[in-house]
Symmetry: D2
Amino acid sequence: MEHTYRLVIACPDRVGIVAKVSAFLATYNGWIVEASHHADRSLGCFFMRTEIKADSLPFDLKSFHIAFEPIAREFDMRWHISDSQKKKRIVLMASKEAHCLADLLYRWQAREMDGEIVAVLSNHDDLRRMVEWHDIPFHHIPVTPDNKPEAFAEVGRQIAHYEADVIVLARYMQIVPSELCEQYAGRIINIHHSFLPSFAGARPYHQAFQRGVKLIGATCHYVTQDLDEGPIIEQDVIRVNHSDAVEEMVRLGKDVEKAVLARGLRYHLEDRVIVQENKTVVFA
Amino acid sequence: MEHTYRLVIACPDRVGIVAKVSAFLATYNGWIVEASHHADRSLGCFFMRTEIKADSLPFDLKSFHIAFEPIAREFDMRWHISDSQKKKRIVLMASKEAHCLADLLYRWQAREMDGEIVAVLSNHDDLRRMVEWHDIPFHHIPVTPDNKPEAFAEVGRQIAHYEADVIVLARYMQIVPSELCEQYAGRIINIHHSFLPSFAGARPYHQAFQRGVKLIGATCHYVTQDLDEGPIIEQDVIRVNHSDAVEEMVRLGKDVEKAVLARGLRYHLEDRVIVQENKTVVFA
Amino acid sequence: MEHTYRLVIACPDRVGIVAKVSAFLATYNGWIVEASHHADRSLGCFFMRTEIKADSLPFDLKSFHIAFEPIAREFDMRWHISDSQKKKRIVLMASKEAHCLADLLYRWQAREMDGEIVAVLSNHDDLRRMVEWHDIPFHHIPVTPDNKPEAFAEVGRQIAHYEADVIVLARYMQIVPSELCEQYAGRIINIHHSFLPSFAGARPYHQAFQRGVKLIGATCHYVTQDLDEGPIIEQDVIRVNHSDAVEEMVRLGKDVEKAVLARGLRYHLEDRVIVQENKTVVFA
Amino acid sequence: MEHTYRLVIACPDRVGIVAKVSAFLATYNGWIVEASHHADRSLGCFFMRTEIKADSLPFDLKSFHIAFEPIAREFDMRWHISDSQKKKRIVLMASKEAHCLADLLYRWQAREMDGEIVAVLSNHDDLRRMVEWHDIPFHHIPVTPDNKPEAFAEVGRQIAHYEADVIVLARYMQIVPSELCEQYAGRIINIHHSFLPSFAGARPYHQAFQRGVKLIGATCHYVTQDLDEGPIIEQDVIRVNHSDAVEEMVRLGKDVEKAVLARGLRYHLEDRVIVQENKTVVFA
């Protein structure tokens, strides 16, 4: 993959943003390989993602920051720039269900994924062998009704220890405490096994079966303190019918879950997602 | 289209149902052109739809009833048999939105639909010209906060007058009173402009936009007294993203709405739907 | 719909194109409401579509041309700018099949379509009543093995007479002669009832049935002299199975055909399609 | 999973088949858990798959054969019955591409697949470690332009040695010789990385890119002597656009390939596929 810088910007919408940014880049001879814009009328916000050949620019990220900062201030930008060669560090959290974990491990090992899986934390020990075969450290951190604060303190320590850029709940069946959600706001990604907002909460396939829906789905979203209410990154569905018992829905749903999580995570790792209030802009 | 009888059965599951029914048909040399079965384990119910060449049987529907009744009693069947040449009589109810109405009228006129549209009732007069061009009677029955009982009494009279077999709410924006729902249970079909149970109630596209979902949908369901809670016949979705404003969602959603309603109605007209509790078996 | 100008550009890729164009627009205080870029590495080409609020610019299209021309020359651009309020003039060509024609007429009349249907030409008279109900002129131009040159001369005259910007073959079953294809290159849109390049030529649903495919589709493409080989604008598919006879495939396919044609035409009308060699860039 | 027998029948269509078969089953108190029928008018053929609770019948498969044989003869049936507890033995053939192999190994190990993977044969040694981690024998059988006959003789010996019921070409890039195709007719399953019949042969993603299609796909089919021409079991597609380079298509296509292969193989393993001439009936 080509070495690029990804410049991601959100700011109040007004005339001249693109002109200013692209003039800045052109001044330094920056070669744009991909560019996406979005103006949200209802919010009055402008969003922009520009991917630039790294070696077309005469400076590194540090100098880019210094040079670009006046423009950012002028337009009141939330912004960041990232280096495609500096892979994001991913901590996976799992429980007993293997499908999402196995899928991400495979994609990582096959170099389909733009990030580094640095550790797996799990409240059960079942998936240790699979993880360790990939030469990735596996930490078993049991969670019981009694030890929640200690367990999540340990989770927090491990996340910090591994300097995680992003935490992925790959069917991790525990509720993450508010402090962690806050501390890693916009950096914890969950896969929920329903097409949210339908069937939030527990046992969504059972709820779907009860309701007799004709499609079941999965939702990849950022975790916030409000359970299953965070900004949605990606969703998809699959057709079911009367002949599909709950177990069949679970089996079919697994394929959707892992596909949706893989896509959602991919967008995040490639800096394609911008959160604005409780929604996302995804420059897919 | 071939002339067939459609035998539709629901009964408690046990050994020998198919054997008995098919032996009955074979005795009379009945030629089966399509057959579908479903055993629902959780309910202990068996469902069956058999389509038989009409001219392969030596009797008409009346005699079929007499001959089959003992089997039906033996297996405690809810059942009916219908004649593919006796088209179901459809009363459409509409308001101001034309897309679903226009789509059904087109399919009817192009003979894509296995039923007769016998009248359109509407609480607004806007769509009269379109309906009357198809030589279908159009009745404007205004509904106001003050005249609801009288208005729906008139609706009921017209439905009775036209001897409707099925009533289709083609984006009819009024809530149908309980008595009508009861009287025509399993015969009133609605299209809701969301992927239920998400975004029930009013202005679902606005709700979808607020929540930032990545797919929007539509649901075709039987109308019961519980608004948007009736048995689902058919659903589908379409992808949206951050760049789609509410108006865009509305536009995209229209295509899903009319497709889902056309499919759901088709299943009903061809006797492919069996309601069991609050769910449907659809032998699509 | 908002009044905008749409600036569409294709040129050799190099540094500074976006900067130059957006600086030009910013100089005149142009408010960008939508922007899309694409750099095709294999061709070394850059493509760009920018939609600008018309009243944010101090000049009309004529002056825009004069002001922008030096930039266009500098970057060797193929480019055009269009006014969203100047609706493209559409001539539809149909035969006996009504579904695509009816769908486009409905969308036009419901103002879902960003263009003006100015006439319908048909080699059969069957659809006259439907067209004339919409107050659109209908011309019956029969085509026989013997009168092809005269018939298409008349077609050409009508197209010229109506000053068509785009010609849509809405299941027009005749092969358009090369001269017309050349004269209106990039302006004749066809819907082919298969997922090209599968089943090019005649009776694609029969071919699909014979081959036993599990999905059937439709393709919207620009017409060139090479039958069914022109640049593809849009495609879609629908699932079929062993139980679908050819007639069923035809019925299911109609819905895909009209959806694909409507989307493809929409992209064209909104200046979202750029042809490059035998492919398209579609800024959907 | 429940212990069942699967009775699969193809025969000339006539009156009384279902009656005879279901009367036979009812006589012995056979409990039908799933039943599917299909009458193909164009071929005059009838197809039927019935799944029966094993312990509801008073005999084993051998006795079933004896008891059922007269009926089979009477109706000129091609038929077989299989035991859901006797898992089919699967030999996988792979090359260097890991995605399909890894997916099938995962599904097998997660018990999502109704069969036993008994060995992997590969013309390259790259995937040995992945296979052996699953405790499955891996045989490296290099194929060169010079050693084809010997290599495939060895392939044949291994398939025989492992008593394979089905051979899956999981992106095995070699052409299987005619004798093997014949010997294992209806038992060799391939995944082709295009939506056949489009882009048969080599490098389909490059062909797709050149043609500028808007969807790419994959096809799971039985292998016959005619390359990429065998009966299709399953297909699916995914949307691409102008911004997807060939490499991106390859990446996106992988997910479709593995999903389509997993579904197609599943149908085969559950005895849901009947081949008739060059097409399949799939009772999904």
